[in-house]
Amino acid sequence: MSPLDLKKGASRKSAYDLKTPFSDVNERHTLAVLVDNVDGVLARVIGLFSGRGYNIDSLTVAEVDHTGHRSRITVVTTGTPQVINQIKAQLDRMVVVHEVHDLTVEGPSVERELALVKVRGTGTERVEAMRTAEIFRARVMDTTTESFVFELTGAPDKIDAFVELMVPLGLVEVARTGVAAMARGSH
């Protein structure tokens, strides 16, 4: 992700499109938001979404620059093009926000998520769970005679598919990180 090198505010080259089409169709967008890692920054971002009635489908946050104290928030949201643009403009005007990137429109990107999946079972179910895990390239992180904890990374829909297959095989618990995303290419 290349910094846009924009001053705060916007121009026609900004992350958000000032000439957005008005349409009623909901779109799913993945936003990468670089913020100062200061007290309450996550509350600020989440408060914006809840206060203005925007959707959060997934949200991850971690400090990515320990010297500059910058965190990267990846948020997956759905809304009409107009709402998506409002979200970006509202995020960008926050004092703690340095950059907002809409990975969905800025070009091809990769989206990955990590999941831990616990499955309990014996006999054929246990064997089937292990076989499916191999197909999905999940790793076994913990095992007992009657359970596994698998670790799986991939696009969110791959994880959805795996979890669904585990339901009849004794799914006990799922923990997911939410999406981390990044633009493809050298920039």
Partner: protein, 584 residues
């Protein structure tokens, strides 16, 4: 580096920021700062009677001077009382710097005495806020706070300062050294887009300029440029409630305010125009009415410093992000350099149409009999104060709309009203703040009796500081605006919209040591107003007016601009239908 206590750093930072006045109320968690205030003479502290009033007074100070208003209150209840004013300032883009005391850092989270999660509570009602946990960070944070409050779209900021941070020693940093590089909103507009606007202006057949509070936020230069633009083009101009004064009410291109209670000509022109130049206004729902019927035939330009204002409610064709002053300068320069002319014939025809609408005379009213019409009271107030160095504040309700309609503003920063939040109780403390900033000026708060009671304790402040604020109460003994809606919407079932058990306002004034005047007859009105103006001190003017007067014109909620209700003979029975009734 100079070492000093946190409290000293606070006061020194304020002084270095050029602050001359702080509105506040003390308490345990800010005592060290109050102690420092006691020891110096550069900053005047105004002791209000309620923290909400401190915030509104600071808003009045800010709006009438263009400088940020500063507030100092204690933790817990002091901070929570300030929440309404913070929200009000956020909605109306008023720069405030609010300092709150907090319990010591080591007690935070323990439900300590007078602890409240102030940054948590005020996060959604400030532009930004900070909890400062180290004395060394205090000076820089304070300077950043002033920077954020006043740059870009102005707004309120809050700094929460635990008591131990006020006592501890730290190093001071002057304003110039503070890091503010990260928050630098764009002020220059996109030249390509400005060129497109110049082109569209030259072509326009039915143009209108729709100006707003952003022009006033931008400063006196912007107002000047706006006036130049109007005279260079001859375009008609209207303004929102928040923008009154950015173009003179006596100017010949002035159409009056637009919107729900705006003039017929302004709203009809907005509806029928083919070119709309929106300058520092935000397409608020009081303006647009039904959005799908809003100005259907126009090319729309929107100049705004906040990208989130653009395309929020109404889709525009030419968005320009930046500061009004900077953009108008470029726009005018380009207009002149290109030797542009307007489509004079078409614009002349358009004025003909506008004059027909004007001829309807939508603000006419009849003053008959011996009961004062509120419109008449304001018309007389206007006539008797015209040309004076006058500032007007208002409360919220019918009287506020009548004040906007019947008083004329020639200059910006002369009109202080709560537009976005519509806070009853705003006007009196705001008038206090304005009078502090302009000790020699005539400051009048046009009030409704119900709103005025919401912050009447400020009589004490007005008396203590000898502030000759005039409280001009249009007393209809009703929550008038609510009653009007109940008439139009709820079958005249006047549920709790009476002002019962009102005080005797003259005696009330006297109880505070102020002057009270009662007027209930149109014939006595002029003399009574003159008496109010002549008195050198606070006056409580109880003007008994017609009780069931409605405020017209009115665009019923859920209707379009060209579906206005005009005065007297308006068919109000079925004015608002089910769809509109859910709107407020």
């Amino acid at each position: 580096m100079t070492r000093m206590s946190g409290a000293e750093i606070v006061v020194k930072s304020l002084i270095d920021q050029g602050v001359d006045t702080v509105f506040g109320y003390p308490g345990g968690a800010v005592l060290p700062i109050y102690d420092e205030i006691f020891k110096q003479n550069s900053i005047k502290h105004i002791l209000v009677r309620h923290e909400q009033a401190a915030t509104h007074a600071a808003e009045g100070y800010a709006r009438s001077t263009g400088k940020p208003g500063v507030v100092l209150v204690t933790s817990g209840p002091g901070a929570t009382n300030a929440v309404t004013g913070l929200t009000d300032a956020l909605m109306d883009s008023i720069p405030l710097v609010v300092l709150t005391g907090q319990v010591p850092t080591f007690m935070i989270g323990n439900d300590a005495f007078q602890e409240a999660d102030t940054v948590g509570i005020t996060r959604p009602c400030t532009k930004h806020n900070w909890l400062v946990k180290e004395t060394d960070a205090l000076a820089e944070t304070l300077h950043q706070a002033f920077h954020v409050a006043t740059n870009g779209r102005p707004g309120p900021v809050l700094i929460d300062i635990p008591k131990d941070v006020q006592f501890a020693e730290g190093s001071y940093m002057p304003p110039k050294k503070a890091k503010t590089s990260h928050y630098q909103p764009q002020v220059k507009g996109d030249m390509q887009e400005i060129a497109a606007v110049v082109e569209a202006m030259a072509k326009a057949k039915r143009p209108i300029i729709y100006s707003g509070g952003g022009v006033i936020n931008s400063g006196s230069g912007a107002t000047q440029l706006l006036r130049e633009l109007v005279s260079a083009t001859g375009f008609p101009i209207t303004s929102t409630l928040m923008g009154l004064g950015c173009y003179p009410a006596s100017g010949k291109n002035w159409l009056g305010m637009l919107g729900m209670h705006g003039t017929y000509e302004a709203n009809m022109a907005m509806h029928d125009c083919d070119f709309m130049l929106c300058i520092g206004a935000r397409f608020d729902d009081r303006i647009t009415g039904r959005t799908d019927a809003f100005s259907p035939k126009s090319v729309k330009v929107h100049i705004d410093i906040d990208p989130s204002s653009i395309n929020k409610n109404i889709r525009v064709d030419h968005p320009i992000v930046g500061d009004v002053g900077h953009i108008l300068e470029d726009l005018l320069r380009m207009w002149k350099a290109d030797g542009r002319r307007t489509n004079a014939d078409a614009v002349k025809k358009w004025w003909g149409k506008i004059d027909d609408w004007r001829a309807i005379d939508c603000l006419k009213f009849k003053q008959e009999g011996n009961i004062i019409k509120p419109q008449y009271a304001l018309e007389r107030l206007e006539a008797l104060t015209k040309g004076m160095d006058r500032y007007i504040t208002t409360e919220v309700g019918q009287h506020q709309m009548w004040a906007a309609q019947y008083l004329g503003f020639e200059e910006p920063n002369r009109w202080m009203t709560s537009g976005g939040l519509g806070t009853m109780g705003y006007g009196f403390p705001a008038s206090v703040g304005v009078q502090i900033a302009h000790p020699e000026a005539l400051v009048i708060n046009v009030a409704g009796e119900a709103s005025w009671l919401m912050n009447m304790q400020e009589m004490g402040t007005a008396m203590q500081y000898g502030l000759p604020v005039k409280q001009f109460i249009l007393n209809n003994e009703r929550l008038g605006m609510v009653r009007q809606w109940q008439e139009l919407l709820h079958g005249e079932r006047y549920s709790s919209s009476w002002s019962e058990s009102l005080p005797d306002f003259v005696k009330l004034a006297e109880a505070f040591g102020a002057k009270g005047i009662l007027c209930d007859n149109p014939e006595d009105l002029d003399e009574a107003i003159k008496e109010m103006l002549a008195h050198d001190g606070p006056v409580l003017f109880d003007c008994l007016v017609e009780k069931h007067e409605n405020c017209f014109p009115m665009i019923p909620s859920g209707k379009a601009h060209n579906e206005m209700l005009l005065g007297e003979n308006a068919d109000t029975a079925n004015a608002i239908q089910a769809g509109g009734a859910v709107l407020v």
